[in-house]
Symmetry: C2
Subunit: 505 residues, 2 copies
């Protein structure tokens, strides 16, 4: 990566190695916070994390680094060796990180980190109690600071405030693009959902599978399926938390789940979803480790990889033809309810419900449309946080025809806003669109992918994904990656075709 005669490049890249070390430290500390931390440490931990985040911000926002990066651009501008394009992209991504950091003053970063840490602690207590009032003041403070950050960044970048937030999570993503794709989905989904529910209602319900399903056996089949997909346990772990997530550090991918002894499927499918994230990380370009260009593109691509694995592969008939007998064996299950067909029908059940993370892929976009609308309204002050529960209820009624009985099943369910993450939700549904488009392109490019899935051989699929997505790191934008891999810009056609084939086929 280094080369003689590029002193500014060398200085800039070595500083990004430090930023990556802080990121990895924060990744492990975040994992620890959710899995291991004793309850009394929450406040001290939040303080420590806030301090490290301010240090990270100052490393990025310092004038010295800005000078190095600006000068490094000149040093690599005419490199014509194989790495030249990567170096230029790395400088571009460095500049992007710097711009985001430099747009915010240190004291705002510190205030946000502290307010978000405090709000997260309150949310963790308020959520199980369904007590929105208990977290409202903390949320109002977090929201106020997020508005300030969005306005400040927007002004610095010449962007609308919401666009400045979207750009944090996926470089180049703008609200009009989100709106156009979501409008297309809004045209398609309500009618499609009605038809899918109608068709489902006219068939016999899938057979129930009776538990209990001991945690040890659920863990064993999760490990077996993760390993089959290519998760390398020498470089990662699977653990348990209340709120599943994936995280960790370099060479250390950590997935968590929550087992329900009455139903093995949610934990298993959740684990396979997170495995998709981890396999993306495993496939990032090692030569650019610890540099911006070597990191995962944005959240659209990341979520496309988890959804491609969960929704595209693991909830498919082909996959369950291979996996169902293995799952049955893991629980000593015998009988027609354990058949591949029955397990698949259970995995592809459509049901409007309250919790986003448990939603099927047909109703999931409605959850995202609701959150996207509401967060934009919160940010532009057309919705007050004290009116959020009512707005949530109204939105659920109009989008899915159901009304959550309490805030636990409503506006308290997701952590995002309570830790200041606005402009993130749209990436879930854009990821679903990208997943469908990428999987269709992969199947068309390599006819062995589909039969591979049916026999438990995922190498053809992941080989295509590594060549077309994972190995690119952040060399290209998400839109460029998708267009290059699939031959056309991201749209809703593949997603709609996928839903039609699966639920009306």
């Amino acid at each position: 990566m280094n080369a003689p005669g590029r002193p500014n490049w060398d200085a800039a890249t070595s500083r990004f190695v430090r930023i990556a070390a802080l990121d990895d430290a924060l990744g492990l500390i975040g994992w620890d916070q959710r899995t291991m931390m004793p309850e009394g440490s929450a406040e001290s931990r939040a303080e420590m994390v806030a301090t490290l985040e301010v240090m990270r911000h100052e490393l990025l926002a310092g004038a010295a680094l800005a000078d190095y990066v600006a000068a490094a651009a000149g040093e690599v501008a005419r490199d014509d060796d194989a790495d030249g394009e990567w170096r230029r992209a790395n400088v571009r991504e460095m500049a992007r990180s710097l711009a985001h950091a430099r747009a915010l003053p240190s004291d705002l970063v510190a205030a946000r980190a502290r307010a978000e840490g405090a709000c997260e602690i309150r949310w963790r207590a308020a959520r199980p109690a369904g007590d929105y009032a208990a977290v409202l003041p903390a949320l109002a403070e977090v929201l106020g600071l997020a508005r300030e950050a969005a306005a400040t960044k927007g002004a610095a970048f010449g962007l609308a405030p919401y666009d400045a937030l979207l750009d944090q999570h996926e470089a180049g993503l703008r609200a009009p693009r989100v709106d156009a794709l979501f409008a297309s989905l809004e045209d398609f989904l309500p009618d499609f959902l009605a038809r899918a529910l109608d068709r489902q209602a006219r068939r016999p319900a899938p057979l129930p599978i009776a538990g209990p399903f001991p945690v040890a056996r659920q863990r064993a089949i999760a490990h077996e399926m993760m390993a089959a997909l290519g998760f390398d346990f020498r470089f990662g772990r699977l653990d348990e938390t209340l709120h599943p997530f994936s995280g960790g550090a370099a060479d250390d991918h950590r997935i968590t789940t929550r087992y329900d002894e009455d139903d093995f499927a949610p934990a298993l499918m959740g684990v396979l979803h997170e495995t998709g994230h981890a396999i993306y990380d495993f496939g990032l370009p090692l030569a650019w480790r610890h540099q911006p260009v070597g990191t995962a593109r944005g959240m659209v691509i990341h979520e496309s990889q988890s959804l491609l694995v969960e929704m595209g592969v693991c909830r498919s008939r082909a996959f369950l033809g291979w996996a169902a007998p293995r799952i049955a064996a893991a629980f000593d299950g015998v009988g027609p309810e354990w058949s591949a067909d029955n397990q698949w029908r259970r995995a592809a059940l459509v049901k409007p419900d309250f919790i986003r993370v448990d939603a099927d892929e047909v109703t999931y976009p409605a959850h995202i449309l609701l959150r996207t609308r509401l967060e934009r309204a919160l940010l532009d002050r057309s919705l007050s946080p004290s009116d959020l529960p009512d707005a949530w209820t109204d939105g659920m009624r109009s989008l899915l025809g159901i009304v959550p009985p309490d805030d636990r099943l409503g506006c308290l369910q997701d952590i995002h806003w309570y830790v200041g993450s606005f402009g993130y939700f749209p990436t879930y549904t854009l990821g679903a669109l990208a997943a469908a488009q990428l999987l269709a392109a992969a199947r068309a490019a390599d006819p062995d992918i589909e039969p591979g899935i049916a026999r438990g051989d995922f190498a053809p699929l992941f080989s295509w994904l590594r060549s077309n997505i994972h190995g690119y790191g952040s060399l290209l934008s998400a839109e460029e990656l998708i267009a290059r891999a699939t031959g056309r810009p991201l749209d809703t056609a593949a997603f709609e075709a996928h839903l039609t084939a699966r639920y009306l086929g």
Copy 2:
């Protein structure tokens, strides 16, 4: 802590909050490395830790901080409020940290962190295999860098190189002081050991207690005893590792142990030892958290607290009179082998053996004398690392009359040198001397301490320790702390009296 009109003080203290955040992060990451990390991540982890250590070093060694600290000394020099003495001591401890950091160039710090990380990985593989040759080149590199650091620091401080190393682990500790105390022990111990073994041989051996002792029950009794001593599980954890240690971060004390299903005692006593460390940390002055003066004094005091709890309290007749029936109940143990007297005789058994961490308190100092001699010889080049195994064997033969059958039970047993920690070993035995002297003074000061121990009430003991040791943080030197608490400088009399009472009484 802050006050108007002290801008340099404020700048300096806020920078130490950052250093403390990095220390806490490194503490948690170190815990994770030993308990949770997947094996394939070892190299990436070592790299990340090295990067964070260099960042910590540069924070400490920067010219700006040195200026702030120098000017802060003037700002607090005449403070006559209650905190004035603490502020001045904090500036003194800041200056001490700075001096240690500034004495070493960044590239030496980076080279040491990398070499030590790499050597630790090799040692972890070489130790179980007893393969000293496999780790020798890495150790030679670590040793070379440690010599360089000792020489550089010694020159900067006007100290002998070994004194500069001792000073890192206990401020103000010098080799002549170590030599004088160790000489006194060398006069006393060989003859004492012979008498103790002779007396032990003339009594019937304690009854064996037959296992197996299931891990779950060992864990339960360890938790019960920790809680009885005052370990607050809202602010800490007990976990399992191959190599037990205590660590963690603010409000988050983490102890680890290794359970042996054939013998419950080593894990239980090890846990109680680490509990002594943790209770010291719990008692540090909260008002000075994240500042140098609020941290634990050095390793002599730290080890005195763990040994006071393990050797002074938990291996005493009084404690086992209370604890033995509880331990028996934890394992459904019935019979004379579970009696308090028999459990005590097992806990106070003297036996020259190979492994330091398993040694009784009579033979333990011999292990330290050996290591102290050898590390000084390694550092002054009178011993080559390739001759270490032979020198180890010779030393064990002359000090304890036994010869380790392999390097696993010899010079590979301790991690210290392999991670560059020289000048640390003497603090274990100085800690044992301090533990005996402090416990004797505590008992003399409060006649309820001893009966308290006998009835499982440790509040009188820990109240005295908090008032006389824990609550002082780093306000005083270790020697001052001990002299103030016990009325005389540290010597070997209390330790010798303790051994005499326990093993010849």
